[in-house]
C-alpha cells in the first residue's frame, strides 16, 4: 500500500512514473539524443537515423524482398501457374486490384493506379506487422540477461536500438508522409483525366450562382487537405492506441506487485494481464489488416472521386 500512501501525501509515485515513461518510450520515436546512426545537420535539419527511420528502411527491405521473391517465377517465365508463396501473394494482389482498385477507380485506370495502391497496402501492412513483433524487447532481454550489457551504456549499439518504438506507422510524421502521397495522387489523377485546370474546376459543382462559389471554393480547398489529414490521424492513432492498451494492461503486474506483494503481481499477471493481452493481440492482428486495407481503400476512393467527379 506504500504507493497509495505516497500519492496521498503528494509525493511522486515511482512505479507509475516508470510505467508511463516506459509506455511513452515504447510508442514514440527515439530522441535525437540517442540516434542509431549519427549523420550531419544540413540546412538546420538533423539527418541522424532514429528508430522509426530505421524501421522504415527495414519495412522497405522486407516489402522489396517479399515482392521480389514472390514474383521471381513470373520474371523467369518458368512456371506460368503460380504455386505456394507466389500463389498467396497473387491472391492478395488480385483481391486489391479487383475489390479495391477496379470498383473505385475504374477498370481502364487499374493498370496505372494499382501499383501505387498495392505498394501502400503492402508497406503499411508490413510496417504494422513488424511493430507487433517484440523483436527489440527480445534483443534487450538477451543483452541484459545473457551478455550482461549494462542498460546505462548509451554508446552500445544494443542500448541505442532499445530507445523508441518499433511501429513506424504509429508515428504521425510517417502516416503524414503516406497521406501526402495520397494527396498528390488525387491531384495527379484528376489532372491526367481532366487536365490541370479541369481538375480544379471539378472541385466545385458547376452551374451555381456566384455567391455560392464564394462559400464553396474555400470549403472545397480546406476539404482537400482534411481528407489526407483524416488518413494520417486514423492510422497513427489506431497503431499507437493498440500498443498503449497492451502495455497498460501488462503494467497491472507491476502496479499490483508494488501495491501489495510480488505474489499479487504474478497472480494478476497470470489471471488478468496475460490472458487479456493474448486476446487483445489477436484483435491487433485484425486491426493491422483492417487499417492497411482502409488506408488503401480510402486512397482508391479519393483517387476515384478525382477521376469521376459527381456533384
Amino acid at each position: 500500500m506504500k504507493s497509495i500512501e505516497a500519492n496521498q501525501a503528494g509525493a511522486p509515485n515511482d512505479i507509475s512514473d516508470k510505467i508511463s515513461s516506459a509506455i511513452m518510450d515504447h510508442v514514440s520515436n527515439s530522441s535525437l539524443d540517442h540516434p542509431i546512426l549519427h549523420l550531419p545537420t544540413i540546412f538546420g535539419i538533423n539527418f541522424s537515423v532514429t528508430k522509426h527511420v530505421m524501421m522504415l528502411w527495414v519495412t522497405a527491405v522486407v516489402v522489396f524482398s517479399i515482392s521480389y521473391f514472390a514474383t521471381r517465377r513470373y520474371r523467369k517465365e518458368e512456371y506460368p501457374v503460380p504455386t505456394g508463396f507466389t500463389n498467396a501473394f497473387e491472391t492478395v494482389v488480385d483481391f486489391i486490384r479487383n475489390q479495391v482498385v477496379r470498383p473505385n477507380i475504374g477498370a481502364e485506370f487499374s493498370r496505372f493506379w494499382a501499383p501505387l495502391i498495392l505498394t501502400l497496402f503492402f508497406f503499411i501492412l508490413t510496417a504494422n506487422t513488424i511493430g507487433l513483433i517484440p523483436i527489440f524487447e527480445f534483443i534487450g532481454g538477451i543483452a541484459r540477461f545473457v551478455y550482461n550489457i549494462s542498460p546505462n551504456d548509451d554508446h552500445h549499439i544494443v542500448n541505442r536500438l532499445l530507445h523508441g518504438g518499433a511501429t513506424a506507422t504509429g508515428n504521425f510524421n510517417v502516416t503524414a508522409g503516406l497521406a501526402t502521397v495520397t494527396f498528390f495522387g488525387i491531384i495527379v489523377a484528376g489532372s491526367l483525366k481532366h487536365g490541370f485546370l479541369g481538375h480544379w474546376k471539378n472541385l466545385a459543382p458547376p452551374g451555381q450562382p456566384f455567391l455560392v462559389y464564394i462559400i464553396l471554393i474555400p470549403i472545397e480547398i480546406i476539404a482537400m487537405f482534411v481528407k489526407p489529414f483524416a488518413l494520417t490521424m486514423r492510422l497513427a492513432a489506431n497503431m499507437t492506441g493498440g500498443h498503449i492498451a497492451i502495455l497498460s494492461i501488462m503494467s497491472f503486474i507491476f502496479i499490483f506487485g508494488d501495491m501489495f506483494s510480488p505474489t499479487a503481481g504474478i497472480a494478476v499477471g497470470a489471471l488478468v494481464s496475460v490472458p487479456l493481452n493474448v486476446a487483445i493481440s489477436g484483435l491487433e492482428i485484425i486491426v493491422i489488416l483492417i487499417q492497411a486495407y482502409v488506408f488503401t481503400l480510402l486512397t482508391a476512393i479519393f483517387i476515384g472521386m478525382s477521376i469521376h467527379p459527381h456533384h
Binding site: 475489390q99 479495391v100 470549403i219 476539404a223 489529414f229 483524416a230 486495407y293 479519393f302 459527381h310
Partner: protein, 79 residues
C-alpha cells in the same frame, strides 16, 4: 473438420461487397472527424501563437463542422 471452401468464398465476397459499398460513407465519417479535429487543432495552435484564445479555436471548430457536414451531405445526397 473439413473447411467448406464455397462457404468461405461466399463470406469473403460478401465482406468485400459490404466494405466496398460502405467506402463512401467511411470517407464521409472520417472526413467529418478529421475536419473537426484538424481545424480545431489548427485554431488552438494559432490561438497560442497569436494570443487570441479562444476565438480561433471556436472558429476552427465551426468551420470544421461546416466542412465535415458538407462532405457528408455530398456523399448522402449523391445521385
Amino acid at each position: 473438420m473439413p473447411i467448406d471452401q464455397s462457404y468461405l468464398t461466399k463470406v469473403a465476397q460478401m465482406f468485400s461487397r459490404i466494405v466496398r459499398q460502405s467506402g463512401p460513407y467511411m470517407t464521409a465519417s472520417y472526413t467529418l472527424i478529421g475536419a473537426i479535429i484538424g481545424l480545431s487543432l489548427g485554431g488552438y495552435f494559432f490561438d497560442e501563437w497569436l494570443d487570441t484564445a479562444p476565438w480561433l479555436l471556436i472558429a476552427g471548430l465551426i468551420i470544421g463542422l461546416v466542412i465535415g457536414f458538407y462532405e457528408m451531405a455530398k456523399v448522402v445526397f449523391r445521385k
